[in-house]
Symmetry: C2
Subunit: 301 residues, 2 copies
């Protein structure tokens, strides 16, 4: 199996040390600290021969007048690495000590950055987005404050602790004999097919979620479910759980709410689509786990 | 593999129909509606020869003066089944039309109820708890209202949609040669060992989360990770993702923050513990996926 983008984050997340406020304060004050700036969830990059992440020195970042608290991503070579949301001052940033920088969308960076850096982008985007959308306590409505160097938020009014959210999603190649079934979502152009997918619901196993989603969206019964691979997908923060799902018949009926058309494709049709030489079928690019699942199925992996 | 408690929920969740407010109103008014009452997350049960769920008629529930909105669990034999949080009126419930009822804790019900009913308890507890703790909008702090028959909450102030949360957790049997490593958590009695486990973090695959948690808690490097089974665990709402994780050495070092002691056990020691005949080792009971993972490993599954 080839590398799946957004995996491969290289940090030591310092899960234990970050419980210690003194240790966290030392990291924030460290001259070795490096900061990744985000504005409206776009990531600051530096463009020279290739695109790379624009890490900014702690001394510069400590002088920035932004409202957000830095979020500790983790340690690398002993150096603390932070993400900092500068959305409120992005229009008027002072010199940052790096030339040729620009904010870039995370999805495009997934396949242009080195794998480890794309994994860093995924973590930074998911965490900064979570902080932005959880400024208030769901239980009592009071403002919350960051805790554990950004790995939690705390409500001082009611005492509730809130932790970053990751939503499990099942995504599957439905197959039978030498064919697999892909769906064309509402609004997608002719020939643009992908895997069936959906959020895991309460009180479901992975296998039950796969069976429910396939039944709801294309009306097929699934017997065997085999887990294949997973992917962190930071839009906003899901864990994509990729499976192969064996259908008990070929009789698909689309629900028409989410899927407009479902069609069975042969190994050869899929292999041609992976190679980009199938005029009738386009599958998602390698940024998406769907690409890897479909290709691995076509190769008998 | 034997049945894992809390899986096996039998409902058609009506994911598509519940988008339609008219259809939802019809279900709420239906004379065939059945309601499962919860008070402080305990579930109303009926005790005759065996423990069973106490389903209450819609006509009775529509007369109850509680603050909560019924949450649609799903359809069974065409009949809508709801969960209703009556915590605010539980001390003074009127006659419900069923004798011999009592509120019972969900965990104890997992192995005393039939499997499908335990799956219903898991869904009801997870959903009612989520509604209780998400009455306000994380983005703006305003009150939210239930939507989609309880499958969402809507913020009328800022327009944000909020969906029930399910947290993915990895839980694993760490093994090497003929031994597996289990940990004794801080505060557990001597001999009480279980699997290593932890929440999946942002920008991690399942396999990366397994490797990080094992490294953090017992200092071992993991090479191969094999997914085995999953379990919905409604305390409050996690998806337990069970794996076998192969260690590259026997040299464990506990972190002492979460795990007090880690020890390698042979197949035979584990088999005796599963049978309840190992005086030195107690593993979790069948309510927990840990039991099933440990036993399946000991049986070479």
């Amino acid at each position: 199996m080839t590398h799946i983008p957004f995996s491969g984050n290289p940090f030591d997340r310092a899960s234990n040390q970050r419980q210690d406020d003194v240790w966290v304060a030392e990291q924030l004050a460290s001259p070795a600290g490096r900061y990744l700036l985000l504005s409206r969830l776009e990531v600051l990059t530096h463009h020279s021969e290739a695109v790379e992440l624009a890490w900014i020195d702690g001394a510069v970042c400590r002088g920035l007048d932004c409202a957000a608290t830095p979020v500790l991503l983790g340690l690398r070579d002993g150096m603390p690495h932070f993400a900092l949301d500068v959305s409120d001052i992005a229009e008027a940033l002072p010199p940052l000590g790096v030339e040729g920088t620009a904010f870039a969308e995370a999805r495009g960076l997934a396949t242009t950055l080195p794998a480890e850096d794309a994994g860093i982008v995924a973590q930074a985007r998911a965490l900064v987005d979570w902080h932005t959308r959880h400024r208030y306590c769901g239980a009592c409505g009071s403002p919350t404050v960051p805790a554990k160097a950004g790995a939690a938020r705390h409500c001082e009014a009611c005492g509730a602790q809130h932790f970053p959210r990751t939503d499990p999603v099942v995504i599957m190649v439905v197959w039978r004999e030498d064919r697999c079934l892909l769906g064309r979502r509402r609004g997608r152009g002719p020939g643009a097919f992908s895997c069936i997918a959906g959020y895991v619901d309460q009180a479901e196993t992975i296998e039950e979620a796969v069976r429910r989603e396939v039944l709801e969206e294309v009306g097929l019964e699934i017997d065997e479910v085999v887990y294949h691979a997973s992917q962190p997908w930071p839009f906003p923060s899901t864990l994509m759980i990729g499976c192969f799902a064996h259908a008990t018949s070929f009789e698909a009926h689309v629900d028409e709410l989410e899927i407009e058309e479902a069609r069975w494709f042969t190994h050869n049709e899929i292999r041609a689509a992976v190679a980009g030489t199938n005029a009738e079928l386009t599958i998602p690019g390698p940024v998406a786990i769907a690409h890897h699942l479909i290709r691995d199925w076509s190769e008998g992996l």
